[in-house]
Amino acid sequence: MSLIDIPVKSLDKPTGMANAVMNELSDHLSRLADSGESHIVDLLSLPMTEADINELADMLGVGEVSATISGIGTSSIRETAYRGIWWVTHYGDDEKVVSELIEITQVPQILITHMDEIRHSAQSMAAVN
């Protein structure tokens, strides 16, 4: 018998948390528009059920940008239909979700290549050429 078979009815209906989060995101997006200040919301730290997270995803929709990072486990970064609101999902190497973040920003930090790594690859390239 797996976890799914246990009939705990309380978890499969949205609780209204999605609306609360949308309010918060609206505040952050306005602040980003006014002052350029970014913010991150950690969905797994909130008391959101799976149904809530799905409802939030429906409310935010899908935008024009999507990116995948293939490191130790993949990460998926998508801009939602609201420009400046990004949905970032991190997977462990066993494909289980380890992190679900909403970033209110021009571009998520994780997409930007770090200068330390650029210096390192510049050295490697110069060494070969």
Partner: protein, 368 residues
């Protein structure tokens, strides 16, 4: 300092990562996960990644006293590369009975060298309890546990007591406590001590705390000296079977209808309501499961004196306490509030503490 200079002088975690083929993005992702697990704001992950990547190898001395080696086993059971193994591989583990290559005099010499070279800057990790009554019960290279603890603690930056034995005395301290076992905090009074209890503790709790210490310093601790980030909530409050508890649906035995349907395990002895740990959220074996999910009640292994807090299989409401003192049907039926159970358990624990008379040599038939 230019990148060329820094890589020539001391290796940082950042250069170590590049050398191991772990990208900064992957490292940032792991820092996000740890920050989330520690209930830090998600923006802390960037600060954590930046600070940790500049960290030079942290010297760690690990002393093992009256222990079963379970805590070491727990922290090394990381099959996949995770932040746990990254951090653990990066620290300079200058002394550890199980993991170090040297033995005998060479091992003790390595420890003394590390103490001198990193005076005031090394982290002391301890697992196992210390026999306070008779120093002869547990010795390493002829040095009593107590003596070695006092010597090494003197120049340590901070002390981490890993496992319930080092944090609170654990199994050796259980009634009748033949060795007079005590916790690290009973002996060392003048250094910051972080308790990470559990029998054993969850690996990511261990490394999450280490990461926090290296980045932000000592985390916020509760009244038992445990990091609030991991030990701030009870198992009961985060348990996925809580809706069954709230509805009064309990397994009465381990193979009845309730057990098979995955109902609450309160009546078969679960100590979830009075136990504070990260098991219900972080879980074990890379998030696979935890005792309740596998069908067995919580035994309360991160709490002081849990070995003497009543049977693992009797409900909290009936344990070793006279039920008539708490004559509420509500408690037994499970509609109880967590507070009532908490009060019950504390009464039980102070009774357990009263029975701890350390055995003397005379008790054992010897002459003083």
């Amino acid at each position: 300092m230019t990148p060329e200079e820094s890589s020539e002088t001391t290796e940082t975690l950042g250069t170590n990562l590049i050398g191991n083929g772990v990208s900064r993005r992957t490292f940032l992702k792991f820092c996000s996960t740890v920050a989330s697990a520690m209930a830090l704001p998600p923006t802390a992950a960037t600060a954590m990644a930046e600070t940790l990547s500049k960290a030079t190898r942290q010297s760690v001395i690990w002393l093992s006293f009256q222990e079963c080696t379970g805590c070491t086993e727990s922290i090394t059971r990381s099959h996949k590369p995770t932040l746990e193994s990254l951090i653990f591989d990066f620290v300079s583990l200058d002394y550890h009975h199980t993991l170090q290559a040297a033995s005998g005099d060479a091992a003790e010499h390595a420890r003394e060298e590390a103490q001198k070279a990193h005076k005031g800057k090394y982290i002391l990790i301890v697992d196992g309890s210390i026999p306070a009554e008779n120093n002869g019960y547990s010795t390493i290279a002829g040095i009593s546990n107590r003596q070695m603890l006092e010597d090494v603690a003197k120049d340590a930056m901070a002390i981490v007591s890993v496992g319930t034995c080092a944090a609170y005395g654990g199994l050796p301290k259980a009634d009748p406590n033949p060795t007079g076992a005590v916790a690290v905090s009973d002996i060392i009074k003048d250094k910051p001590i972080i308790n990470i209890p559990g029998c054993p503790p969850i690996p990511v709790v261990m490394t999450g705390v280490l990461a926090h210490v290296l980045t932000f310093g000592i985390p916020e601790l509760d009244k038992h000296g445990r990091p609030v980030a991991f030990f701030g909530e009870s198992i009961h409050d985060r348990c996925y079977r809580r809706p069954f508890y709230d509805k009064g649906l309990f397994a009465k035995g381990f193979d009845d209808e309730g057990a098979r349907k995955g109902w609450c395990l309160f009546e078969v002895g679960c100590k979830g309501p009075t136990t504070f740990n990260a098991c219900a959220t972080t879980k074990w074996n890379n998030g696979t499961s935890f005792p309740i999910q596998s069908g067995h009640g919580c035994i309360g292994c991160s709490e002081p004196d849990f070995w003497d807090a009543g049977s693992f299989y009797k409900a909290l409401s009936t344990g070793s306490i006279n039920p008539s003192e708490w004559a509420t049907d509500a408690l037994v039926a499970g509609a109880a509030i967590g507070v009532a159970s908490g009060l019950l358990n504390r009464a039980g624990k102070s009774k357990a503490q009263d029975k701890h008379d350390p055995v003397t040599l005379e008790d054992m038939g010897g002459k003083k």
